[in-house]
Structures are given as C-alpha cells and as structure tokens.
C-alpha cells in the first residue's frame, strides 16, 4: 500500500459520484442524433449520385467531420462536448474536433513544430493504435 493508493482510497468517500444515468442519456440522444443526421446524408448521397452504400457512408462521415471542424474553428464544438460527453467525443466528429482543436491551439508555436507537430496530440491515440492494429492484422490474418 503506497501513499498514493491510500490517498485515492481515503478521498473516494468525499468525491461526488458522477450522474451516470443523466450522462448516459445525454450521450445517447446527442450521439444518436449525429448518427441519424449522417444516415440522412448517406441516403441523400447514395440516392443522388447512385453511389454504393459503402461510399455513401464514407462521404457522410467526411461531411460530418468537416462540419465538426467548422464548429471547432468557431469555438462551438466544445459546448456540445461539455453537454454530451461521449455522445460528441466518441464519434468521427469527435476525432475531427480533437485534431482541429489541437491544430488551432498550437498555431502560435509555428507551422512545423506547432501545428504540424502537435496536431495529433489528442487524436493520435485513436489513429495510431487503429493503424497499427489494422496493419499487423492485415499482414497475419489468414
């Protein structure tokens, strides 16, 4: 029993537990709305350009990501994230928000070390581990 784990256990009783149900319901509704909107976009694209469902969904995800980048640039996406938690951060739009906000935040440090270097600061975990997993599995999967 280290000092730190003792502290964590002792202080536990005084920490308010997060409102699990309320947070989950908010994430459910906001996340669901984003997905329904993307579904509508995919249907529209698939119907208008006679694209395959796969291509239509990819296009819809890109449009939603673009929307998230614009909302991030005007500083509005954080309001969503504050309210919806995982409903806003655990979608493709959340990845776009993480990368765009890091890029904007670090522009004062210059274009190479700042914007380009720090861009994946928050979104990097998702991209990098997904890429490694897909590459390795792609090599060894029968």
């Amino acid at each position: 029993m280290g000092l730190k784990s003792d502290y964590v256990r002792e202080v536990k009783a005084f920490q308010p537990s997060p409102p699990y149900a309320a947070n989950a319901v908010k994430a459910f509704f906001v996340g669901g709305m984003f997905c329904a909107l993307a579904q509508w976009l995919a249907d529209w694209y698939g119907g208008t350009f006679a694209a395959s469902p796969l291509e239509a969904h990819l296009w819809a995800s890109m449009v939603m990501a673009g929307l998230a980048i614009v909302l991030t640039a005007v500083g509005k996406y954080d309001d969503f994230s504050q309210f919806a938690g995982a409903g806003a951060t655990m979608l493709i739009t959340g990845l776009a928000n993480a990368i765009a906000s890091a890029a904007i935040e670090h522009r004062s440090e210059g274009w190479t070390a700042g914007v380009a270097g720090q861009m994946l600061k928050a979104g990097g975990a998702a991209v990098i581990y997904g890429l490694i997993a897909a590459y390795v599995l792609g090599l060894v999967w029968p």
Partner: protein
C-alpha cells in the same frame, strides 16, 4: 426506419462508452484508442459488416467505425498481400477520412485564432 436504427445503434454505443468513461479509470484518449482497435478487430472478424448493413451510419459514425474502415481496406478483394500492398490498403477507405480531417484541420488553423 433506418434512421431509427442508426439513432438507436449510435446512441447506445455512445451511452455505453459514456458509462465506461464515468465508471472506469480510463482517460478519454485511451477509450478512443481502444474503441478504434475494437472496431478493427470486429471488422477483421467479419462481425462489423452485418452491423453496418443493419445500423448504417449508427455503426460507421462512432470511432469503432474508423477502425472498421481501416480493417475494410485491409480485407478488400482481391486480398492485399505483403508489406507494400497491406500498408497501402489500410488507407484505402480510412485514408479518405484521415486526409480530409488533417487537411481540414490545417485549413482551420490557417484561418482561425484559438477561442476561449
């Protein structure tokens, strides 16, 4: 009806992930990374294809959908083989999204100053 399915599937996924974040000791970035790897695994296992067929955007929009795009490229027919083909194939679908996000973020950094 497909909107309802997308809403339910996407919403449920987000709610479950929210519970994991609230209950566990994981950081949001760790959860995001795990979600993508989870999507890659399900994509390779062939579980995610029927899920996408059923839920549509409710399956592709959450971060595990990004993993699905990665896996989908690596599993495309004809099946890529070796280091060169596999490395290129991984980006076949996910690369579209990734390039767009990175370029868009750079454009945002060009035109906007940090807020707040």
């Amino acid at each position: 009806m497909e909107y309802v399915r997308a809403f339910l599937a996407g919403g449920l996924l987000c709610a479950i992930v929210q519970l994991i974040i609230d209950r566990g000791k994981w950081t949001p970035a760790g959860v995001a990374g795990s979600l993508v790897v989870f999507g890659v695994l399900l994509g390779f296992g062939g579980v995610y294809d029927p899920f996408v067929a059923w839920a549509g955007a409710g399956a592709t929009m959450p971060l595990c959908g990004f993993g699905y795009w990665l896996a989908k490229g690596a599993m495309a027919e004809p099946r890529p083989e070796g280091f060169v083909e596999t490395g290129a194939a991984v980006f076949r679908f996910a690369g579209a999204l990734f390039a767009f996000i990175v370029a868009g973020s750079f454009a945002a950094a060009l035109t906007c100053k940090p807020k707040g």
